[in-house]
Amino acid sequence: MAIPEYERIASAVRKPAAQASRNIKTIEESAASGEVAALYDHFRTHFGRPNVPGILKCFATHPPLLRHMMDLSEHLIFSEGSLGRKHKEMIATYVSSQNSCPYCADSHGFFLRVHGGTAQTLDALQSGDLRSSGLPAAEQALLDFVRKVNLNSHQIDREDVNQLVQAGWSELQIAEAVHVTALFATFNRVANAFGLASQGLLALCASDAVAPSREDALVERDRS
């Protein structure tokens, strides 16, 4: 399974941090054995990423949990569904920024850039200022909905959903936006409680070059 952002990480020379988390110890790759080592190895070969991300290491003290988390992530995030990767990463970045999660905001901001999101879009998602972002009205409407699901989900009503349908989103896409938002409400809290620091992946975008033709093709493949 080729994941373009992981290919990018693999091509950059990076040393993994000695310990991924600040507050609670996680199982590092060099210390993994048995079922955890096998799952880490499955991750590296299946996704083609040279190092296991910190968020997965948070679950490695409990191998069955690690397996279910990898499974959920693959089916909800690292796949094209009714929403394409670009929109999923926009949601992930926006939610993670609202929840003050430096780890997820950095990694998913980077994934967004790899999947065709512009630097201006990333700035808007990080600052929360969508109105001056130049984003199409439909995407702004989706992100307004996502913000409400993240921060005030108990106030969501039929009218919120109707507005998205009016903006052109299908019910399947709306259902998926709720899934992804809710999943990041979870990941952000795990990452923050463990004290995962930013991996500095966005620095890989700073110098260049993040949108060569291959990523353009991916953008085309996104449905909207």
Binding site: R22, N23, I24, K25, C58, F59, T61, H62, P64, L65, H68, M69, D71, L72, H75, L76, S82, N99, S100, C101, P136, A138, E139, V149, N150, S153, H154, I156, D157, R158, D160, V161, V165, A167, G168, W169, S170, E171, L172, Q173, I174, A175, V178, H179, T181, A182, L183, A185, T186, F187, N188, R189, V190, N192, A193, F194, G195, R223, S224
Partner: protein, 209 residues
């Protein structure tokens, strides 16, 4: 921007998205809903969400079973209390009532559970458990300001890292469920139905085969 055209209008639904309610896929939740409907019993609306995407539901409930119901150095009762307390902070009425009912079953004390949800500091709960619930509150409302002093406070209260892991995982899990449930418009059932369904969950947990 190209967008997918709106789908044809579906039959009315009690959930916000008709497509979620009206297209259950084969699997355990399809069967549960069918059985409840044929007997006329109240059922948990979250089953519709799980029947809509069986592949994701399977991972989700197995994850939930591991976090909430398997052996751990923190009791199943306290984990269910974490679920109810987290849901109250997120104002998710369905999850709050469901897991308050599960916790009440496990503690055999409904009044205690609701007193904790209403006023943690004034409730008759051991200080060690209150320390965990204070941490849960911080994870839910301001996780970005958690640091090593919060973990040190839990260690002092008598919790080890494994117990803290379960506290984090159960709280974070319900931060998923609360949004999933509220944003889809899942409504509470009767108190009696909550008690009946909670008794099963208290005993067996989350997985349905």
């Amino acid at each position: 921007m190209k967008t997918t055209p709106p789908e044809p209008k579906e039959a009315t639904s009690s959930l916000f998205l008709a497509v979620v309610e009206n297209r259950p896929q084969p699997g355990p939740y399809f069967d549960l809903i069918a059985a409840a409907k044929s007997s006329g019993a109240d059922y948990w609306g979250i089953w519709n969400l799980l029947a809509f995407r069986p592949r994701i539901a399977d991972s989700l409930v197995r994850l939930s079973q591991e976090i909430m119901h398997e052996d751990a150095p923190i009791s199943v009762a306290l984990r269910e209390l974490i679920a109810a307390y987290t849901s109250s902070l997120n104002r998710c009425e369905f999850c709050m009532k469901a897991h308050a009912a599960v916790a009440a079953d496990l503690y055999n004390d409904e009044a205690l559970v609701w007193s904790i949800i209403r006023d943690l500091e004034g409730a008759a709960l051991p200080e060690q458990d209150k320390a965990m619930l204070r941490f849960v509150r911080k994870i839910t409302l301001e996780s970005g300001s958690i640091d090593e002093t919060d973990i040190a406070t839990l260690h002092t209260a008598g919790w080890d890292d494994t117990a803290i892991f379960y506290g984090i995982a159960s709280c974070a899990l319900f931060n998923f469920y609360n949004r999933f449930v509220s944003a889809n418009g899942v409504k509470p059932v009767s108190d009696q139905a909550f008690r009946r369904l909670a008794a099963r969950m208290a005993e067996k947990g989350y997985v349905r085969e």
